[in-house]
């Protein structure tokens, strides 16, 4: 039984009130938090098989160790988020093992194959930067105490993933030649992929429960700007081309391509030349899921039930 009405709770959390347990939530608050945590947990979980399959391209034993340390972190983060969902009355069992692959709520970027070392390190540099952008905003603003505390560890480790990505992007860029070309090709498809990840622009965004319940602080467009304010200077500094630039007049990063636009997953190529599409078309593509969706989901749960069989 909630102690507050929905309106009271919204007013309180805007005032800094911290919710500590499910008894204090209204159904609206609980549902919004469940959606947020499910996206978070699924994203962490699906990054693991994506990075794991790419880790075989690691160029040395040292890099293998770093790549696998990152995968281990991602699995732990997923586990922590699913555990938080259990406190809200959701079932980790059902969430991990009971859903169809297309029902997972991770971004479309983690339905794509990472085919070489450059793609793995750009994933660390871009996708993990998106993760930090989203999660540090949650950390700074969330009204849910247990999530805020859990994120201390997560933010710390995501920062390490990001360093790994950036250090390797720098090394590949410096090497020049084939390494640099491979890096630029990865940036070409992964930069727009990450920007799309932040979702609907603010002028199209329906009313956001996550802001009303203070489950996050910044809007999608603001988060996109935060991500670009680190990523664009990083790439420019390395001499990598990205389809965005800083506009002095508006004091904002501006995209140099039709946004959103269509993506050819097979060719790993954005169809800038075909012009802008609607967000409904983007949602359709997301819903259809990408080429690795089933493979990734099955890879994290293919041994399900084996242990019970042995122990019984």
């Amino acid at each position: 039984m909630a102690a507050f009405t929905d309106e009271e709770l919204k007013a309180r959390v805007q005032d800094g009130y911290i919710v500590e347990s499910v008894d204090e939530m209204t159904e609206g608050y609980r549902k919004a938090l469940v959606v947020q945590l499910t996206v978070q947990a699924d994203t962490e979980l699906m990054s693991a098989p994506s990075y794991w399959m790419a880790a075989r391209h690691a160029p040395s034993t040292n890099t293998q160790v770093s790549a696998h340390a990152i995968i281990q972190d991602e699995l732990a983060h997923a586990n922590i988020a699913y555990r938080l969902l259990e406190d809200l009355g959701e079932s980790k069992e059902q969430l991990v093992y009971g859903r169809e692959p297309h029902e997972f709520k991770h971004p479309y970027g983690f339905d794509q194959p990472l085919d070489n070392w450059a793609e793995l390190v750009v994933a660390n540099g871009f996708f993990d930067r998106a993760g930090i952008t989203l999660l540090s905003d949650v950390y700074q603003n969330t009204s849910y105490g247990p999530l805020k505390r859990a994120l201390v560890k997560v933010d710390m480790e995501e920062t390490f993933h990001l360093r790994h990505g950036e250090v390797w992007m720098r090394r590949l860029a410096k090497a020049g030649g084939e390494a640099r070309e491979m890096l630029q090709r990865a940036v070409d498809w992964m930069f727009p992929m990450t920007l799309e990840w932040f979702g609907l622009p603010d002028d199209l965004k329906r009313h956001s429960g996550q802001l009303d319940y203070r489950l996050k602080g910044l809007t999608n467009d603001q988060l996109r700007q935060v991500w670009m304010s680190s990523t664009v200077p990083l790439c420019e500094g390395l001499g990598l081309k990205v389809p965005a630039h800083y506009d002095e007049q508006s004091e904002q990063y501006v995209l140099d391509y039709p946004f959103p636009c269509q993506y050819d997953a097979e060719a790993k190529h954005w169809l800038f030349e075909d012009g802008e599409i609607t967000w409904d078309q983007v949602f359709e593509r997301w819903k259809a899921r990408g080429p690795m969706n089933e493979i990734y989901v099955e890879s994290v749960r293919r041994s399900r039930g084996t242990l019970e069989g042995w122990l019984n």
Partner: protein
């Protein structure tokens, strides 16, 4: 597999308070120790312990994660 919740407590340095840092699901205490050590490896902890959530008895609240043990928890 039946699992229960274990709360994880740790301190970074001598002299620091033991802090609640998270929780794990595990089928028994032995695996809870392993899971906690592998999951919460972001620091070089001076001390870490796990406590079955069922053993935590609330003193002044009747709601929250430990509510189930509010009455007649372990004596």
């Amino acid at each position: 597999m039946r699992e229960e919740v274990f709360d994880v407590f740790a301190r970074k340095e001598r002299g620091e308070p033991l802090r609640h840092i998270g929780y794990v699901d595990a089928p028994d205490a032995a695996l809870a120790r392993v899971y906690a050590w592998n999951t919460y490896d972001e620091e070089r902890w001076f001390e870490m312990c796990v406590v079955p959530r069922a053993a935590i008895i609330p003193v002044n609240r009747t709601d929250g994660p430990f509510a189930a043990n509010a009455k007649g928890g372990a004596a």
